[in-house]
């Protein structure tokens, strides 16, 4: 690793970098410092809070899993194929990131309401997607799917094309090349996109609150506690939710590191 020589330029870098880091850490640290262990512990026993956290994690995880499955073919196409309008498609994928999430919620509401095609199809099965976990999942996925697609696309792009060509010359079909070469080599980026999509989905408030105030996911519950009872009631829920989110992310990141270590181990055959 390169040493960090003391110079005015480096000092300016450290100072400005430190300010940026402080900006990220300070609000979170302040929230933790203003919440007592007893408050957080009491909140963790609140059944409404617990139910909302479980609901949030489950819905976000299911949405991520389902849409990750749909995202991979698109990511692969964008990484490997050239076609007219490709740049437009790439721009469209990033759209949910740049539009206000309340507007995204309105768009999703129109997409799933009873008078929409999807709403009518769901109605045939006795489902009303508005105010339903599926509606919440769609809102979460809409605002978070760009992270999955872009990360997987980066992963596929990083796989050298010549490895795929080599597999073809060794007799593999394009499907086999995808599953035995492209996918395993892009796996870490895909997992990274999965973690980002999952995290972004579970923290979504703006789009979800428009589609479904109830059943309540934790970001909506935090808003409800804040607007009804004030900051001191909302804060412990926030702290608890952040702790759980962090545990999940550390776990998932750990999984990807373990996966990497696993590659270096001596395999059972050969």
């Amino acid at each position: 690793m390169q040493g960090f020589r003391v110079s005015i330029f480096n000092l300016i870098l450290v100072f400005l970098g430190g300010l940026a880091l402080l900006f990220i850490v300070s609000p979170l640290l302040s929230m933790f410092l203003h919440s007592s262990y007893a408050e957080v512990f009491e909140t963790s026993k609140d059944t409404e809070v617990r139910a909302s956290i479980v609901r949030t994690l489950l819905i976000s995880f299911s949405a991520t899993l389902f849409f990750a499955f749909l995202s991979l073919p698109l990511s692969y196409i964008l990484a490997r194929k050239e076609f007219p309008g490709k740049r437009l498609v790439i721009g469209l994928i990033d759209l949910p990131i740049v539009i206000p999430h309340s507007a995204a919620g309105i768009a999703i509401l129109g997409f799933i309401s009873r008078d929409s095609v999807l709403g009518e199809v769901a109605g045939l099965f006795g489902l009303n997607l508005v105010g339903h976990p599926i509606g919440i999942a769609l809102a979460m996925a809409f605002v978070s799917i760009p992270f999955m697609i872009n990360s997987a696309r980066d992963g596929f792009e990083a796989v050298p094309v010549r490895l795929e060509k080599a597999a073809l010359t060794l007799g593999a079909s394009p499907v086999r090349v995808f599953f035995t070469i492209s996918l395993p080599l892009a796996w870490r980026s895909i997992l990274s996109g999965f973690v980002l999509m999952f995290g972004r989905g579970m923290s979504e408030f703006g789009a979800v609150v428009i589609v479904a105030y109830h059943p309540m996911i934790t970001p909506v519950l935090i808003w409800e506690r804040f607007s009804a009872f004030g900051l001191s009631y909302a804060r412990p829920v926030s702290v608890l939710f952040i702790i759980i989110c962090l545990l999940f992310f550390i776990g998932l990141r750990f999984l990807s590191v373990e996966k990497k270590k696993g590659h270096a181990e001596r395999p059972k055959s050969y």
């Binding site: 010549r162 060509k165 597999a167 010359t169 007799g171 070469i181 395993p184 050969y270």
Partner: protein, 244 residues
């Protein structure tokens, strides 16, 4: 055995211009040309990865121009080996064997036999990231030979190797050819070409400039480019021999 007839492929800034080659059974054919001459594009077209715009590829008399890659019985070893980094050396060699749906016992026997032939038995458990350039080339060649190809295409198999490793691989390739395997080898190194080739062709800017026996090309280079590229320095009226 392998006949390439008027093969043409156009790209925006480059094209293969009516390439024709004849490679006989058991021959060691070297295609010599500078970087960017179109050697790799030609190889990938013969292997079936790239579809030509026009022209034909005949293999043992059969037109394979539009056959899928996996039905051509032509093995291609890429420039850097293209060894799969997430698989061990043994898993790399067994990759085409699994596609052929051989039994575990058959796969094991074949992998061990190829590994022994290539002198890489001790590397079968190792990941590519822990291997040297020469070891990776041997694995790549073994993996391609696992297909039992009738013709082997080698894309600059000696590039980026040190002198000793180059000699090891050269000997290995000579032995493979002596055992009856037809080899088509591309390189930009004339020494390599003269050491190995029964027949050779010189390619530049997507065109075959000259082809024939190495001795004929040395004796009668068709152009200044050929004489310069094969290392004899002058064109017309010279008598000097190439080094190496």
């Amino acid at each position: 055995m392998l006949s390439v007839q008027n093969l043409t492929k156009k790209y925006d800034e480059f094209h293969l211009d009516s390439i024709s080659l004849e490679i006989g059974q058991g021959e060691y054919f070297v295609l010599l040309g500078p970087s960017g001459a179109g050697k790799t594009v030609l190889f990938e077209t013969i292997a079936g990865i790239i579809q030509p715009d026009s022209g034909k590829i005949l293999f043992e008399g059969r037109d394979i121009t539009h056959d899928p890659v996996r039905r051509r019985q032509i093995g291609l070893v890429f420039q850097d080996g293209a060894v799969f980094p997430h698989l061990t050396a043994g898993q790399n060699i067994s990759y085409p064997l699994k596609i052929k749906k051989l039994s575990v016992k058959q796969i094991r026997e074949k992998v061990f036999s190829l590994a022994e032939q290539m002198g890489i038995m001790h590397l079968l458990h190792r990941k590519p990231s822990t291997l040297s350039g020469g070891e990776l080339r041997r694995i790549a060649i073994a993996r391609t030979l696992a297909l039992d190809p009738k013709c082997l295409l080698l894309d600059e198999p000696l590039s980026s190797l040190d002198v000793q490793l180059q000699q090891d691989i050269l000997d290995l390739l000579k032995n493979l050819n002596k055992s009856g395997l037809t080899i088509l080898h591309i390189t930009h190194n004339y020494r390599e070409a003269f050491y190995l080739a029964h027949k050779m062709a010189v390619i530049d800017k997507g065109r075959i400039i000259q082809q024939g026996l190495p001795s004929e090309i040395v004796a009668h280079p068709k152009s200044k480019f050929v004489s310069a590229f094969i290392g004899i320095g002058s064109y017309a009226g010279f008598n000097s021999q190439p080094e190496g």
